[in-house]
Symmetry: D3
Subunit: 229 residues, 6 copies
């Protein structure tokens, strides 16, 4: 999964942008629901806390997942989450956009994420394939057909642009766009471009209030990855 | 801190309600900001996942902190977060309510939490003491005066009821109410009463969509507390 | 009707809570629409003005009906209306809730009531049985089936929890919950628990602005019940 | 009071419009707060129910007062409340408008009324003179100065047009407009023009759902005015 | 088209109101979409800039079209756009209103216009006939049937009153109202009544901030109509 | 002015991005207010209609100005307006952002533009220097000090990031950021990066509904620039 996302990011990035893909060292391999999203958020923050390399910006590649505000506190380089990235880009391409995701249970979580990012005003609908996890794994073709169907439903509800409500499905946006006749935004690509843009402009996260650096204090057992050693 | 909160909960609870206070086994002792909030959310979910005892409901006692939706997924008993509990109760007592918290950096996080709970429509203001962590620890009297001042500011902005935007300050709500002449709601007490009420009515968390149980699958290194042993 | 509501309240109340049911002495026996709701609001305020007994809180048991703010002015004990009580409780149990009511004409009135209570953000739908008054009286079974159907419609529109949009149908919430697989909140029970909670916490209505006591002045012909004698 | 309002209505009306001023036969002479507003709403509906004359439309002349939806149910001729009338007219004259009222306690009630009428999006502020009832009666000059001061506050908060948040102060709008350099809308005049306009266009209240006629049934003791005889 | 609109305005106006209909001297004869709407806005402002006659108010008769705020800057007499006029009037006649327009592409533009006028809170739906321009011209009967169908859809979505989302179809509102059993507001008539009302009350556009007069400066090539000569 | 904006765009653009700056051939040289904004919108659309060269995307460089939706209809390449570009970028850098503009009269227009772009939810304040046009031209230093002061006001109102509410002041954002300690986004740079990003991703404007191509029909006198010849 991480490799697929990395390839999608590389495909979107400019030649002179280096993409470093990091997989959190603990927690669920994929995130379905709030419970796993909060675990993954901590694990992702663990990775960012312990990462020794240098980087100019962060793309958070879990659609509808938590943690972006924590990363903004920890770092000063731009942090862009694919959920909001797709929403910002889509808002420029049509009067209203829609999000198409896999599991029905994810729509509430995605709505929450968009609401906090201020992106529900231009969102016409969040639709899902209605497929379960097993069905999604069963057949790529079935999944694709289900995504196209859910896209149609979003368009009927007023969407003129779609965003792909998941990561790691690189290429699907192109096939959906072709079939449905609307632009389809992949959040990974959108986030890469937004980070590149912010870095080019020399813009960093504001540190004056909400995203001020974390306080310097003991946090027993944290980061988890270091305490497990 | 946990003990103070436990005492506040016991004071609010009915005689036949047993309060079991759980301190997460890893992570920050206190939460200031998003970074720590996301760590604490995972640690809290770890505690809920590994707890062997029985219970009828959960009070999440970190004001403005994350994780309530994850707990709702994991369990079917009612889960009530003190941020929303205080807001729901306060909405019944005045035309608009205000939240008074400690650090200025927390106001954005509290606003996010209330927004997702659907409680910003009746919220007139979220004000803070403007004191730093060190100042807050310096003198209880200074802190109390600062809270009263911040309460005044919220009232000026339209609040007719206040909620105490932090846990572990049991008793402060009574002194503030006396000084300012408005009801002041402590989230811990409010959440205890809401959980008692929901349990009495036999109401549990809906499992049909957003809060369906987490999928059954491997999550390497999780729960953290078990893997550290 | 009053007796049915009283029994529902007693069933929800703690053993040490005494329920006193009051029927307004004039006006419509049941309320359908705004015209009757405003009449009933005045009649209810008449009852509260002239009631000689003591009480610690008030449950207003007309779903979507007017007058709660007037009672909050008149008294300082907590006043909780079943419309808002059900909404507050339901908001804790699912991502979005729905209201199921009897007559189609009531949905606008209920929406107004929820909007003023700040409860429309988490409300996914207000649906009705579509039955007329006569049909509702015809057969309990038909009514129940219609409620279940309207509940299904609300769930399809995004509701994960339902509230029963009427009083005096005690027991229906249990059958609906069983049939639909979602929690169903009866406003009377919810309001009883909220009043009990507020009383336990020693919280009363704010008197500093909107709900300050009515001015002391002559109101010819008021209270109506005393002038009719 | 009724006479002053009648004169204001006559001044605004076209020569061929006949103004009939009705004072409710019971309840408070003036309305300050929710308690009195709900009593007055019932009394006003009583007057409309028992009035034997003919009329083409209704102006409800209590600013921020209840009952308009009840009157819309009872009748099919247009019913326009001065609160909303002033807001609709003011929205046409500036980017945002403000409301200036007498008592501080009334601002919440006015906000509720405007919110239900869909008029809060263009409302920048609701300010009050801060004077008590006694002070208001003390001196007309003092009241006028206080209104102008409250108008200034609303303008500072973004208002470019003002509405007079009370009835029976005919003429004040002209002096305020002169002093503050902004249009000031008197709700009575605005409502008269809106009713005239609706009547000219042959438009009546919709009867298909929310404002369908009240059901035909017994309402013991109602109308109050007939039962007192 | 201009003549049809003029006749509609005359029919709505009082006998002592003189209607002067102005057709912009350049640009599209009819407006379909944003591109033409912005051209027409400039052309309309050109007409207002160069018009030598006297007038007491302006009705802008392009439904969902741009420019009203520019006209408010240029003039001090009341400027009322038919989009907002219909919305204000309709808000007085039912709990929610709907807009029925011709082309599907226009719904977004109309929504924008209503949103800026603060009229989306009471708008339940904006529906369209779904017909293309050619089909609309083909047969009046077909168009009328399509309008009635779109009206039905809006009513199903919660509308209790309709507004006619186009100009120059005078009379259609009467046939729709008859067929659908709801009031249907024609924006031209509504705007005429609102301008008459504002003029009667001596109210003019606020000049203190947003609609202050345009600055006095050179604008090469403007007004276009004078430079073409 | 155009040259300054061009230089700002070039500074933000990647080396392989060619910037072509176009000045509309008629209308006001600078835009202050709605009247000029609507004229400039038509003139800008004229330029886009008659431009013979090739381009991959459009940056509309008038802050708070009209016409973006018209350009989206006319073209299929991405069209990004600096008002929304700055808002989208700023939303990624802080919890709330603020806009600082020159003239007080512009704040309403900017608010409208942001509202339609769905960017008011994360906007804490739109403040202005309060200076008149003449004062702005008087002294660069005075203007800069006024901008910094207005920035402080926005920060006090909750902004953690600022956007520069005007074009053609390249460099000011850097000095403001330094002085105020917050990121300051220049819309021109932000829009260039967003267009570059959209072009890289192969994304174009949706043509299925609101932004479908203008109909093919005669528009007498249009484009103005060709008819003047």
């Amino acid at each position: 999964m991480t490799e697929t996302i990395r390839l999608g990011a590389v495909a979107a990035a400019r030649p002179d942008t280096e993409i470093i893909a990091i997989t959190p060292s603990w927690g669920p391999a994929s995130v379905e629901g709030f419970y796993e999203s909060f675990i993954a958020a901590a694990s992702m923050l663990d990775s960012l806390t312990t990462y020794k390399g240098k980087f100019d910006g962060v793309v958070m590649a879990g659609f509808g997942e938590h943690g972006r505000e924590g990363a903004r506190e920890l770092l000063d380089v731009p942090v862009v989450d694919i959920t909001e990235a797709a929403g910002h880009m889509a808002s420029l391409l049509g009067h209203r956009y829609g999000v198409v995701t896999t599991l029905d249970r994810a729509t509430g979580q995605i709505e929450d994420s968009l609401r906090l990012a201020g992106l529900m005003d231009t969102c016409a609908a969040i639709t899902s394939t209605g497929l379960g996890v097993l069905e999604l794994e069963e057949s790529e073709e079935k999944t694709e057909r289900a995504f196209i169907e859910a896209g149609r439903e979003a368009i009927k509800a007023g969407a003129e642009v779609l965003t792909l409500g998941c990561a790691g499905m690189s290429g699907l946006q192109i096939r959906m766009a072709k079939e449905l006749g609307v632009p389809v935004v992949d959040g990974v690509g959108a986030a890469v471009k937004l980070v590149e843009g912010l870095v080019d402009l020399g813009l960093k996260t504001s540190k004056i209030r909400t995203y001020a650096y974390p306080l310097d204090k003991a946090r027993p057992g944290w980061p988890v990855s270091e305490h497990k050693k």
